[in-house]
Amino acid sequence: MKRSYIIGLVVIAISVIVIISAIGNTSQYVSFGEAMNNPGHKYHIIGKWDRDRGVDYDPKKDANSFSFYLKDSTNIEKKVICTKAKPAEFEHSEKIVVVGEMQGENFMASDILMKCPSKYSNDKSKLQNAM
């Protein structure tokens, strides 16, 4: 067999491994319901922060965790305990993604991502207020 064919085959084989490795390491967006059925599995959950119930963060007691209530797309609301300092943009977020797993009644999040309204989307109300 010619060497170029061997190289071609090796490249294809590695490509397949690369793609499988990449896809295989992905996580999934689920609802709290599914996360509750699979405790011990790490998931991504998208939801909205329940503003009325506030956010519990007291850096003097513990600068490395905070908690709040998150309502997912199926309207299930759970307490999320995030083991990080509260990000500065938290209060501005309109959508929140938490990464972690259910432990009992709480969702233990090791990471949090926020989708903040960019400075443009609220333009209209801001313009109205400014005038």
Binding site: V18, H44, S65, H92, K115
Partner: protein, 828 residues
């Protein structure tokens, strides 16, 4: 709905001119494309002339758009939407330029501008390639300038053909056109009201010198990617399949240099000013420019192989084409809003995703059409490359680089995979809709394959140049490589041992990087000995790559969090012991030991919505009890005016030659909270002579000194100031206050109370008895407020300067190579 109002004072002239330039730039791009297209076929000079004239007017129109927009921003014409949205009155001039690329329209403009400059240079030196190359570039210009057209509801032939497609976004629309139903715009003279108002301004996080220099460089990198692609297409069109490689080589090198610089600048910006704590986060936006660069570098190597050995041409075609298409793909990714939740960067969706998709697919179609129809004609070598040859291993390197890029782009494209599977599901009801998210530990996932790939690439760059093209005897090669290996292996292992590098993968990468540096340094020295420095460009840029890898692996692998909270571990921390204790609370004036430093929060100050926290670091020599080193850092929070809450943070870093100390605020007391305020509810009158101490419960107040200052500018006023020292039983600190009164004629006029906020004490100096010299004070007492505090994270990044050094070396190497290749062309 049209309002029939005759507005006054809108100053529509510049806007109309601006839009005229927009339309003109679009029209002339089409004209130039057609003219150059015909010229490529007919080689008729009058078509070339028309193409050049049209392209010239096109460039002038782009400049016209730039100047008009800058004029509007400079003169604060807030009745224009773009000006209101992206600028404000207090912006420094350099940020007025940065306003251009804060918005999408402006960044497309920047891209169009660079494409024009590149096209203009090509008109001067592309010679016989001018026709087809400029046709491709003009095609891109048509697509790019259409991004500014701002046509909604596209109707052709009356209403016969109606497309619900939005075509571009016009930067010259008025505020009242952007927000048509605001009551403000019922007034014909609304601009008068706008005069006193300010624009939204440039995002405070972006008010940074990086914002001024990084986008132009990155966009020049983006824009220049088209040149090798355009040459490749020209080669196919002219049926001169391999001839394009030589004139395209300097451009491919230029692209590698500028795009690489742009990417590294992005890393430097993130490291300096953003809060994610590092120079690279595998964020989709970063990946989106890294992947095309890697593919273009792979393509560059295949072009070099072809230039010397007439092989690997088809690979060069594929990679150069893929590199450009990936630039378009990354533009689509970052601007269509598809990344959504997967990126920390926030994007505005201007509703142009359809148009961006068309932009990308048009070029995909062009490239596929050209490559598939002429694939058979592209010459391929029948002889196998020798294993003991440079070209063979360069080719392997290009393949590894491409596979590494494949891994990154698949992970970056997860949201696209979801979109496509959803789309297929709605079409065919496959019932298969993926809901994938990025990995729960993205960094580890990237490192899993990227570290091995980097190891291979570093080793390859180290030994490939010891091979000659065509054939090298194994013995000769082995001897040279062995020397380099013998030097770098112990050096790398010793360094890993000194650094206490525990990860074996990083240790191997370290050895590989050192090998890359040593091997290429050897080759560079050989060239210098032969007085052929210009030929050493490749070796020099590979040394740079070696240093970049070295700096990245050490800074990342050995970064040390020194603000670990080890004292008050909550039950939660016990459960998640790893990364969860990185933040430490510092109370004002209570220093905390962090590694070698005594860190103290000294206070805060506010400037233009930024709250700067003064954090003092002291390195104390324990034996000699003296301060060896002392500095202050000023990390800041940006306060949101409307809500009075912090909205974003920015770190501050102390740079040393061998390490950086990175400090980042993660939380702070809000001084407006009640807990930090003092309510004074009682007072006592105290009489004191100089030097005397009076006690109030556990508080001891001493009148240390009285200072008389007369001859104030107001005439016969004299100001008397007392220096009071306050000590407490249960507090080692000493506090002081300086209340004063003015002495006018025969009366005393006390000057406001002097406060010691932390203690909830305030002093008013009522006066002094002229005979007994006894001073009288009102001592106001209130609650002792809670002490102000910050929560902060401090990280030491060792040897990060190696990375920046590597970046500079790499850029120099590229520059030398460009010079070498251009000169090589001139000598023929």
């Amino acid at each position: 709905m049209d309002k029939q109002i005759n507005y006054i004072g809108e100053n529509l002239v510049p806007g109309n001119w601006g839009y005229l330039f927009v339309v003109l730039s679009f029209g002339t791009a089409i004209l130039a494309m057609i003219a150059y297209g015909i010229y490529s076929r007919k080689e008729n000079d009058s078509w070339k002339k028309l193409g050049r004239i049209a392209f010239g007017i096109h460039g002038a129109s782009i400049l016209g758009i730039f100047i008009t927009l800058f004029y509007l921003i400079y003169t604060h014409q807030f009745q224009y939407n773009y000006v209101w949205e992206h600028s404000s009155k207090d912006l420094a001039p350099q940020y007025m330029i940065a306003c251009f690329w804060e918005g999408q329209e402006g960044s497309f403009l920047l891209w169009t501008f660079w494409n024009f400059i590149i096209g203009a240079v090509l008109i001067f030196n592309a010679k016989k390639w001018e026709g087809p190359v400029l046709t491709v570039i003009c095609f891109a210009q048509v697509m790019l300038s259409s991004m500014l057209l701002g046509i909604t509801d596209l109707s052709i032939f009356g209403h016969l053909v109606h497309l619900p497609l939005k075509l571009g976004s016009n930067p010259f629309i008025l505020l009242r056109q952007a927000f048509p139903d605001l009551p403000l715009f019922d007034k014909p003279d609304y601009t008068a009201a706008l005069l006193n108002r300010d624009g939204r301004g440039l995002n405070v996080l972006l008010q940074n010198y990086w914002m001024v220099i990084h986008p132009p460089v990155l966009f020049l990198g983006f824009a220049s990617t088209i040149v090798p692609f355009a040459f490749a297409m020209a080669g196919i069109y002219k049926k001169a399949y391999g001839d394009w490689v030589k004139p395209a080589l300097p451009w491919a090198l230029f692209n590698g240099m500028v795009l690489g610089t742009g990417i590294l600048m992005g890393g430097a910006w993130a490291y300096e000013a953003l809060s994610f704590g590092g120079f690279w986060a595998w964020d989709p936006v970063e990946n989106a420019s890294l992947v095309p660069w890697m593919v273009m570098i792979a393509g560059l190597h295949c072009m070099l192989i072809f230039q010397s050995r007439k092989s690997a041409l088809s690979a060069a075609y594929i990679l150069v084409t893929l590199g450009f298409l990936l630039i378009l793909y990354s533009t689509f990714l970052t601007r269509s809003g598809i990344l959504g939740d997967s990126s920390v960067h926030s994007f505005t969706d201007l509703g142009l995703s359809g148009q961006l998709l068309i932009f990308m697919l048009a070029f995909v179609a062009l490239a596929l059409f050209a490559l598939i129809f002429r694939w058979k004609a592209i010459p391929k070598t029948t002889v196998e490359d020798e294993i003991y040859s440079r070209e063979f291993w360069m080719f392997i390197g290009a393949l590894v680089l491409s596979l590494s890029a494949l891994h990154i782009i698949v992970l970056t494209s997860i949201p696209v995979i979801n979109k496509i599977s959803g789309f297929i599901n709605t079409l065919f009801h496959t019932g298969l809709k993926t809901n994938l998210s990025k990995p729960t530990d993205p960094i580890a996932t990237y490192h899993l394959l990227q570290i091995p790939f980097s190891i291979i690439i570093a080793f390859l760059t180290g030994f490939v140049q010891y091979f000659k093209y065509k054939h090298t005897s194994g013995k000769e090669f082995g001897k040279k490589v062995l020397v380099a290996l013998i030097i770098s292996l112990p050096l790398g292992i010793a360094a890993a041992w000194l650094l206490k590098l525990s990860d074996y993968r990083l240790t191997i990468l370290l050895v590989a990087s050192v090998f890359a540096i040593i091997g290429n340094a050897d080759i560079m020295l050989n060239f210098i000995k032969k007085r052929r420095l210009p030929a050493a460009g490749a070796a020099i840029s590979h040394i740079g790559i070696g240093f970049i890898l070295l700096g990245a692996l050490i800074a990342n692998g050995k970064k040390q969090n020194i603000s670990m909270n080890t004292e008050h571990l909550s039950a939660l921390d016990m459960m998640n012991p790893k990364e969860q204790m990185e933040n430490k609370v510092l109370y004002k004036h209570f220093p905390v030991q962090m590694a070698d430093y005594r860190v103290e929060y000294l206070g805060d100050s506010t400037d233009k919505g930024h709250v700067y926290y003064k954090v003092n670091y002291k390195k104390i020599n324990q034996k000699e009890k003296r301060v060896e080193e002392e500095f202050n850092l000023y990390p800041y929070l940006v306060m949101d005016k409307a809500r009075g809450q912090m909205s974003s943070t920015s770190p501050s870093t102390r740079h040393y030659l061998t390490e950086d100390i990175f400090t980042h605020i993660t939380g702070a007391a809000n001084p407006n909270d009640r807990a930090y305020k003092v309510v004074y509810d009682t007072f006592e009158i105290k009489k004191l002579a100089k030097g005397q101490t009076v006690n109030m419960d556990s508080i001891h107040i001493t009148l240390e000194n009285i200072i008389l200052k007369n001859d104030l500018s107001t005439g016969n006023r004299n100001r008397v100031t007392a220096k009071l020292i306050v000590k407490l039983n249960d507090d080692p600190n000493t506090y002081s206050a300086e209340p004063s009164f003015d002495f006018v004629g025969n009366s005393f006029e006390p000057i406001g109370p002097a406060e010691i906020h932390e203690l909830g004490l305030a002093f008013i100096y009522r006066g002094i008895d002229p005979t007994t010299k006894i001073s009288e004070f009102i001592v106001e007492k209130g609650n002792r407020p809670e002490p102000l505090f910050i929560a902060m994270k401090a990280t030491i990044f060792p040897f990060i300067n190696l990375l920046w050094l590597g970046a500079i070396i790499m850029i120099i190497g590229f520059a030398i190579s460009i010079f070498y290749r251009i000169r090589g062309k001139a000598s023929l």
